[in-house]
């Protein structure tokens, strides 16, 4: 049963990522990215990372995706009628090169993953445990071993907040 669920979410993730690649409409790409993010978060759940799955939905679907859709809408205000075409449909260039790079890169990665015995290495490192809630462990680890990166990311978020507010103000000429 869980195999079918896993395969279904894997197919959802990859199919909606392919739709992002193949569609010409930017808005369709943004909506299709929703499927990718949801599929990835379901894959997190199936890997026993429940907190990360919720964080993925909150940050990506609730934040980044909304921001991207706002970006699409704000950059198509007049529809660019002066040049007789609309920026909502994206052009693509270097198509042959892009597909070549994509196929070469994925072939390299798949060859490496096929040759390396990651499964045996990983199984010999950790013994199999039943998945439990990871929230408490992540909270304790963030406040003990990873307190410096935690604080630094707080400072980073503050800087980003100020930077984004400064950058998005209108310049007066």
């Amino acid at each position: 049963m869980i195999q079918f669920v896993f395969i279904a979410f894997m197919v959802l993730t990859l199919a909606s990522a392919l739709v992002v690649l193949l569609t010409k409409n930017v808005l369709y790409a943004a909506f299709s990215l929703l499927g990718t993010f949801l599929g990835v978060s379901a894959l997190y759940v199936l890997a026993g990372a429940d907190f990360l799955a919720v964080a993925q939905i909150l940050v990506y679907v609730g934040g980044v995706l909304v921001l991207l859709i706002f970006g699409v809408m704000l950059t198509n205000q007049q529809g660019n009628k002066s040049r007789g075409r609309n920026d909502i449909t994206t052009e693509s260039s270097n198509r042959v090169l892009g597909v070549f790079v994509m196929l070469g890169f994925s072939a390299t990665l798949l060859y490496t993953f096929g040759r390396a015995r990651f499964l045996t290495i990983q199984d010999s490192l950790f013994e199999a445990v039943e998945p439990t809630s990871t929230t408490q462990t992540i909270g304790v680890e963030l406040m003990t071993n990873y307190v410096l990166p935690f604080e630094v990311s707080g400072v980073l978020l503050m800087a980003v907040l100020i930077g984004a507010a400064y950058l998005s103000t209108k310049t007066k000429n």
């Binding site: 993730t13 690649l21 052009e91 994925s106 980073l156």
Partner: protein
């Protein structure tokens, strides 16, 4: 629970990363290029989470949590810059944005 799905996670993340790379190379709209970068970061996160399964100290998951934070920051700053670029050039086509000063 054993980690028998690990090869499928690796397959998913390899294909997701390649699709993101192809988006960055092929598409000419800045926002779609940003989507490609987000897809690549997501692929890295999938790998980290898949390898940290059964790990009691959850190092991989915490690392990917920080990756999510930095990815969100990157998206915010990049979109602010995109809005500035649109205000200046009146286009988001990367081929037409080819000078630093006008």
């Amino acid at each position: 629970m054993d980690n028998s799905f690990l090869p499928y996670y690796l397959l998913t993340s390899a294909l997701l990363f390649s699709i993101g790379l192809a988006l960055v190379v092929v598409k000419r709209n800045i926002i779609v290029v940003l989507m490609g970068i987000e897809l690549m970061l997501n692929a890295v996160n999938v790998n980290l989470v898949a390898f940290s399964k059964n790990d009691p100290s959850l190092q991989g998951q915490i690392f990917s949590l920080f990756v999510i934070v930095v990815a969100a920051c990157e998206a915010v700053i990049a979109l602010a810059i995109v809005l500035k670029v649109y205000e200046h050039f009146k286009t988001v086509n990367l081929d037409e944005i080819n000078e630093l000063k006008k």
